[in-house]
Subunit: 347 residues, 2 copies
Amino acid sequence: MKTRHLISTTALTFALAGVASANDLRDYARDIFEPLPSTIPALADNPVTPEKIDLGKALFFDPRMSASGVFSCNSCHNLATGGDDNMPTSIGHGWQKGPRNSPTVLNAVFNEAQFWDGRAADLAEQAKGPVQAGVEMANTPENVVATLNSMPQYVEWFKASFPAEGDPVSFDNFAKAIEAYEATLITPAPFDAWLNGDDNALNAEQVAGMELFIDKGCASCHNGVNLGGNGYYPFGLIEKPGADILPEGDKGRFAVTETADDEYVFRASPLRNIDQTAPYFHSGLVWDLKVAVQIMGESQLGEDLNDAEADQIVAFLGSLTGTLPQVVYPILPVETAMTPRPTGEVK
Amino acid sequence: MKTRHLISTTALTFALAGVASANDLRDYARDIFEPLPSTIPALADNPVTPEKIDLGKALFFDPRMSASGVFSCNSCHNLATGGDDNMPTSIGHGWQKGPRNSPTVLNAVFNEAQFWDGRAADLAEQAKGPVQAGVEMANTPENVVATLNSMPQYVEWFKASFPAEGDPVSFDNFAKAIEAYEATLITPAPFDAWLNGDDNALNAEQVAGMELFIDKGCASCHNGVNLGGNGYYPFGLIEKPGADILPEGDKGRFAVTETADDEYVFRASPLRNIDQTAPYFHSGLVWDLKVAVQIMGESQLGEDLNDAEADQIVAFLGSLTGTLPQVVYPILPVETAMTPRPTGEVK
């Protein structure tokens, strides 16, 4: 299990009281948070090339990667709507509902692990999940590879993306190409500009919200480049929410580690673009960001955030909403007689 | 009912025999077909402006226009895959199957009427259909307008698109904006280049295929700018296909006109990009373009096209596959507390 990034709230409060100037505050914030890098991050065992990015984009948008031909990665991680699907939990194959809220794909490359319970180490491993999940895309690795091999254009793109490999069209490489594309989905935000030295990038309310965010202890779990996504915490550290927010059937990371300590433990949600991705929490049962902030205050920090405080924090969170690089919609390879036919059949 | 564009096969054969040069052939072909225009066509009562195009694109790609939040126009008319969805019939709300194959949106603006039975006079009228169909997007005009009004960015875009109107956010204007966007989805193809004077745009097999296409009588129904889409004909003019291709329950245009003459009458399919949009016919039950061509030969013309002939016609049809203008994927307005929540409920 990854190290938890816990910062003592008391220490923060103390330190913050001594902050004198904007630059001191920035230096202090930079010890807790980190601006997005200006370049696409390197991936373990997966060099990012232009060919691989283009292939990954095609795969990301291709509904033929699902058994039914209805769903692509983009269906639930829609780049038009903050990288998610604006539903409590996604609707998938056979009109089945998934168990957890779809997290945004934007900046996901900076999470230490993927899924709400961190069960995938990276985006390549993640990409293999929904494709096979019976309630999502309901496909099989064999059928994905048969589909890809049936279209000469895809075979060419795989060759160009994995030039050293004799048999480049594989489920592993399918996942690696998607990971490479997703690594480009980075959204620099006003908060990055502020961390990088632009005093005018945040307004006074947003700066006050950031100070509160640190002072109240939110940053104890929501820190680093993604303000979260890098540690696991019990939902209800101080006070466990009711089943209307924390359904009892979903014990979170317990399913991964089978350790009693991990009951109702979830990955701290990364907070970039959070005001674009309602509804909130793994259950997707809270639609209002301010309400979500207040629930977090109570359940995780024992803090009863008043309206003005919650408003300031929400204003700060708005400064995390960034700009996606322009996405040109792909033209996908055409099917052939060999392409497996789509089936909406529910097994 | 619109005039049927019937051309006498005998007259064509006679005329073709006298064609001496490439230019004569081109002049002759231009009497039957028409190249795409170089500009976006004007729409009746709907001036096309850049603002309206952008708004229409956002609406076209917005899954929140469906009750469930799962389907956008682009779901079944996917610009990545030839403007359709590669399924016999689409899967929609509640995993229900639609009754007819989804036609391509590409160049649809040039069809004389929309839908397989021509029941919508134009693309604006068409756009209102699937949004409300219970088996497709299952929404209501009231809910669409409430959704749009809940997002200030959409309200602004409607104001900019319909500047003279006091209450621009309406279901009518929703449809008009989509129509304006769809009018831009035009795909110039090698055949257009050939019609415009470029001898090298088609190879010898494609030219031979075009001559056969005219000579055998295909062009009797498939003519004009879209090589179809401009007249209604009985499927089975000469020989009625079996229920494996022509399901008895779907009587086509009869449902629109309630005239016995219109039983099993359908709009002649427009043929641009046809090799990108399998499966074929209103039933979507034929996957192979060559087979589809041979079925048409038999059922509509009483012609038993041999393999070589069908191959040549398929080669010609390949020259109708064009290039879509680059589509930049839109960033959609974010929901607010007023936005109606998505529901997958099936009524």
